[in-house]
């Protein structure tokens, strides 16, 4: 797979003030961004647009403060550009320009804020944080380690799927099939399913997801 795919959603090592913030505070700030963007239009259309614009500016400033490359910011927006244009056009048509701006700015602000969180937090720290959040549910049968591992795998899979899209698009171009939807989509599905199987096998081989020896639980494969 092509190597550039990791640039999306990956951790960027650094020592910026944002990197040094504890995970819980970054999570609270991310939640605040989402709540402000979603709740402010309830006050009025103008207030919603003003608050969301301010939040977006703060998030962009946070991106710069974290020392993240500008290219990464643009890439995050570019990935959703088609959807943003479609949403903006629909909202403009239905509710006017101000609402269209508020909706698009809210989406961009929230995505960029989550991008800052993943870019400034090592995956291992995210795993610990997620496990800590789920730990109170352990009495109800939840497995915090398995939950956090699942989320980590999801994050790891996004770059793979994007990379698969790029590779398949190039392969289709090379064969003169760039307009063939089947040639551009089916191999991505096959590659993704293959990747999921290989990842599952790799996790199983490393004993990840196996129970603690003391718990006496058997791997599903062992009961077949």
């Amino acid at each position: 797979m092509r190597g550039h795919a990791h640039l999306v959603a990956g951790y960027v090592p650094g020592h910026s003030p944002v990197h040094r913030l504890p995970l819980w505070l970054k999570a609270v700030l991310l939640l605040a961004v989402a709540v402000l963007c979603l709740a402010s239009p309830a006050v009025s259309v103008a207030a919603g647009a003003a608050v969301t614009t301010a939040v977006l500016l703060v998030v962009v400033a946070g991106h710069a403060l974290a020392g993240l490359p500008r290219g990464r910011l643009w890439r995050a927006v570019r990935l959703m550009l088609v959807f943003l244009v479609l949403i903006a056009a629909y909202q403009w048509w239905q509710n006017g320009a101000v609402v269209a701006w508020q909706v698009v700015a809210a989406i961009v602000a929230t995505v960029l804020a989550s991008n800052i969180l993943t870019a400034t937090t090592p995956v291992d720290e995210l795993l610990d944080g997620l496990a800590a959040v789920v730990r109170p549910l352990e009495r109800l049968g939840a497995d915090p380690e398995r939950f956090s591992l699942t989320v980590a795998l999801m994050l790891r899979s996004i770059p793979f799927v994007i990379g698969a899209f790029s590779d398949v698009r190039d392969a289709a171009r090379a064969r003169g099939l760039e307009r063939n939807l089947l040639a551009r989509s089916l191999p991505v599905v096959i590659a993704t399913v293959g990747y999921a199987r290989a990842t599952g096998e790799a996790l199983s081989a490393r004993g990840l997801g196996d129970p603690d020896p003391a718990e006496g639980w058997h791997h599903p494969a062992s009961t077949q």
């Binding site: 990956g10 995956v123 004993g207 062992s222």
Partner: protein
């Protein structure tokens, strides 16, 4: 390390077959014929043509594949009944390290292996960094795994598996995706490991460095013995 002087994997009539697809009247398809083997040497190679059953044989050894008939026991542990304990004993390295490395960076992937030891976070990170340093990979610890060369990725995969100190190491064609330089480096590394090593390979030079070589053909063992004779037999088979 959980590394007693001698380890033993015993296959007793262990065979693998897959059920018929239901479309025709054919019976189960045999992938591996029932085998009786004791694998106790420190270095064992498995050679054979593509599709001969090498990978299935190796996957039996840590419970990734369960036998359809017979049993596989690793130091007395039944892979079908005590799978988790078997996987703690047998580390497995895949041909393509990219499918094995599930975390974005080498240090995080090694830490993922160490999570099951329930170490404090700081100690886990330090052990992961030490493990990478032991393989000359300290400078790559925070790089994306996509930025590493094939040889570096294979080394990281090996370091991640060995971080939890398995007693036995199984490798499925570890040098297939490597260039000559990295293959030589891998050979030297494997030679120095204290673990029992069982690997499938197309690298006959690597196979020749082992004490015992199994030649797999059409789901069965065509030859089992010293490397010189095994390589001759394999060459005769594919001629």
């Amino acid at each position: 390390m959980n590394n007693p002087a001698r380890h033993s994997i015993v296959l007793s009539s262990a065979g693998v077959s897959i059920p018929p697809d239901g479309a025709g009247g054919d019976g189960p398809k045999t992938i591996l014929k029932p085998l009786d083997l004791e694998l106790a040497q420190r270095r064992i190679a498995v050679i054979g043509a593509n599709g001969s059953g090498k990978s299935t044989l190796l996957r039996l050894l840590n419970g990734l594949v369960l036998p359809s008939t017979g049993t596989v026991r690793v130091n007395g542990l039944d892979t079908a009944m005590e799978g988790a304990a078997v996987r703690r004993t047998v580390g497995f390295v895949f041909t393509d390290p990219l499918s094995q490395l599930v975390m974005p960076t080498p240090v995080e992937d090694v830490e993922l292996s160490l999570r099951r030891l329930k170490l404090p976070k700081r100690e886990r990170r330090q052990r992961a960094l030490d493990q990478l340093a032991g393989y000359g990979l300290a400078h790559l610890a925070a790089n994306s795994i996509y930025e590493l060369s094939g040889g570096e990725r294979q080394l990281v995969a090996l370091a991640a598996v060995l971080a939890v100190e398995p007693a036995i190491l199984v490798l499925d064609e570890p040098s297939t995706l490597l260039d000559l330089r990295n293959t030589r480096m891998l050979r030297g590394l494997l030679a120095g490991l204290p673990q029992q090593v069982i690997m499938s390979t197309h690298d006959l030079e690597l196979a020749a460095s082992c004490e015992r070589v199994l030649v797999v053909d059409d789901g069965g063992i065509a030859f089992d013995g010293p490397p010189g004779h095994a390589v001759d037999r394999y060459r005769a088979l594919v001629a």
